[in-house]
Symmetry: C2
Subunit: 344 residues, 2 copies
């Protein structure tokens, strides 16, 4: 890093509530988190959004032209619009003018831009998106990867995800010996589809991974695992299902709790406690997802991110920068790559 404060470039034009909510989250993050946030976007729009705030914080604006729309095919969009906000943000990292990128825009476009502008780390075939899920243990998260970058995976990809996830868990989450699980439909090594069975064999032999065997669906939130690997198809469905089920259950509580007079009084009395429940369940508290395996820190936020999620996503990026996640992955996966060249 050039400076002591992590410099986070944020795609101010990406997301359903851009630029207003992105700017609001960015201002709060710079004020509270000891980071320098760089707003990448349409100069006029971003400046207007900044003026809505009375904050003393000075945020730098780096101008860009256009953005990749949600309906656009990511790769062609990225190529056709070299000055789009996400491309400009990635270039800042590439040119060492920023240490990380945060985007709540088109996630496919963010991935494509990261791959084209920053490139993969040596020894990594496919970058993966890692998401932190809360667990039943309030003090503990579990990192699930991949949650959507790679729909058809090979065993060696999942093995690389396990190595990258372990490093993240160890250095950023400060888990001493991260327990790694393979998402599967049974405990025994012989269980699962072909991908799972072959990945199990590889993980058992990998000295860089503290492999604890298969994790079933019910184990995901138990807190028994620190890192769980899966292909991006299953992982993405799980991530979105978790968001959906969280909302569904909160909705059921909203419908059922205030019924009747006792219900109304009881719900009023429980207001602060219910807020704590929401905090433990709510994905906004967990910010965005990490794109691991590219040569730079990238955080991909939810498209519906508002200021609190933007703030959390910037915090996530800051932590990854300060714990030198990229350098650490690079030094380990180079070893892993050379030891697994004989097979895939």
């Amino acid at each position: 890093m050039g400076s002591t404060r992590a410099r986070i470039a944020i795609d101010a034009m990406g997301g359903d509530y851009a630029p207003a909510e992105i700017v609001a989250g960015a201002i709060r993050a710079q004020a509270e988190l000891d980071v320098e946030v760089i707003l990448v976007g349409d100069e006029e729009q971003v400046a207007t959004a900044l003026k809505q705030h009375s904050s003393q914080e000075k945020l730098r604006i780096v101008p860009s032209e256009g953005t990749i729309e949600m309906h656009e095919e990511p790769l062609s969009g990225i190529r056709r619009k070299p000055k789009a906000s996400i491309n400009v943000a990635m270039d800042l990292v590439k040119q060492k003018q920023a240490d990380a990128v945060v985007s709540a825009g088109h996630s496919g476009a963010a991935m494509a831009a990261a791959l084209l502008r920053l490139g993969r780390l040596p020894g990594i075939d496919r970058p993966a998106i890692g998401a932190l899920f809360p667990t039943m243990d309030a003090s503990k998260s579990v990192l699930i990867l991949d949650v959507g970058a790679n729909v058809d995976c090979r065993p060696k990809f999942l093995e690389q995800f396990a190595v990258m996830g372990s490093i993240y868990s160890q250095y950023v989450l400060e888990v001493e010996k991260p327990k790694v699980g393979l998402l599967n439909i049974g405990e025994e090594p012989c269980k699962g589809n072909e991908l799972a069975i072959r990945t199990h064999e590889r993980l058992e032999k990998n000295p860089l991974v503290n492999f604890k065997g298969n994790a079933e669906g019910r184990d995901v939130l138990s807190g028994d695992f620190d890192v769980i690997v899966c292909d991006g198809f299953v992982g993405n469905i799980l991530l979105k299902f978790a968001e959906g089920i969280g909302e569904a259950i909160l909705q059921i509580f909203k419908e059922e709790l205030p019924q009747g007079l006792n219900g109304l009084v009881g719900t009023a009395l429980l207001k602060p406690n219910l807020k704590r429940v929401k905090q433990r369940v709510d994905h906004a508290e967990h910010g965005g997802c990490l794109l691991l395996g590219v040569d730079g820190v990238c955080v991909i936020g939810h498209g519906s991110s508002q200021a609190p999620s933007v703030y959390s996503a910037i915090r996530l990026a800051k932590e990854a920068v300060e714990h030198q996640v990229i350098d650490r992955i690079q030094s380990r996966t180079t070893i892993a790559a050379s030891s697994s060249q004989e097979s895939e």
Copy 2:
């Protein structure tokens, strides 16, 4: 059916709480549901369990010898122990002495026994396990299949699941034109892994299926779909994750709600309302899963089933029998099979 009351053969030896809880659920079901329950199991053990109840219900016992243990390999266990309770129960259906089988024992063994003793329906390549999930709409369930019978699927298997699921939804759940979704990671037809993309093409063309496109993870519980198809690997992870997340969230509520004096009072006031929440979320209320595609009604209960789940599983079997699900699947899939012979 030989009699007007549905005759349900239950594996009295299968499950963590067999035979006591199985027998307790069976007695209640026969008393309340207008069904005849046949207990298949060790005569002495089942008779002893029956004596614990003062009920006037007379339940028939059909003796069996042994059971398939959870650690046993299903197919070889089924072959080695022809008189095991699950085999004897299946034989009762085969010989038209019963209309359905319910088991909370080894689910792989129940599937293997059903395949070997009852056989597949014509036009069905692979039977699927269907699970009913509650949705945000209290009046509506969604049928997800497959949740574990087939880990590596072909597009035509998923297409057959869609046909079977539609019939179940239409006739048992009385949904007029069941809306079918394909579990996937995006809305567009081009999204997903190879299996999903090719299945999407087939479902769009199938006149027996009211296909509404891709269902993302967050759509599963929305109530927008009546039937969602997926391969058994993804489906099983989703099912177990849903159970796990339900427990996790209820656990978080238990920890957070009663904190402080207001919390204690509020929680006490909300007791009946919280019970209703639990009922809407709890999987015990939804009984077991259906094995669709074999020549007989089979309900596979959760291994940890206690009397209420056993009761619900018997109710599920009764409904499938009374709505002639097997005959209806048979008459439709024969058409589907002949129309799709050219490709897979």
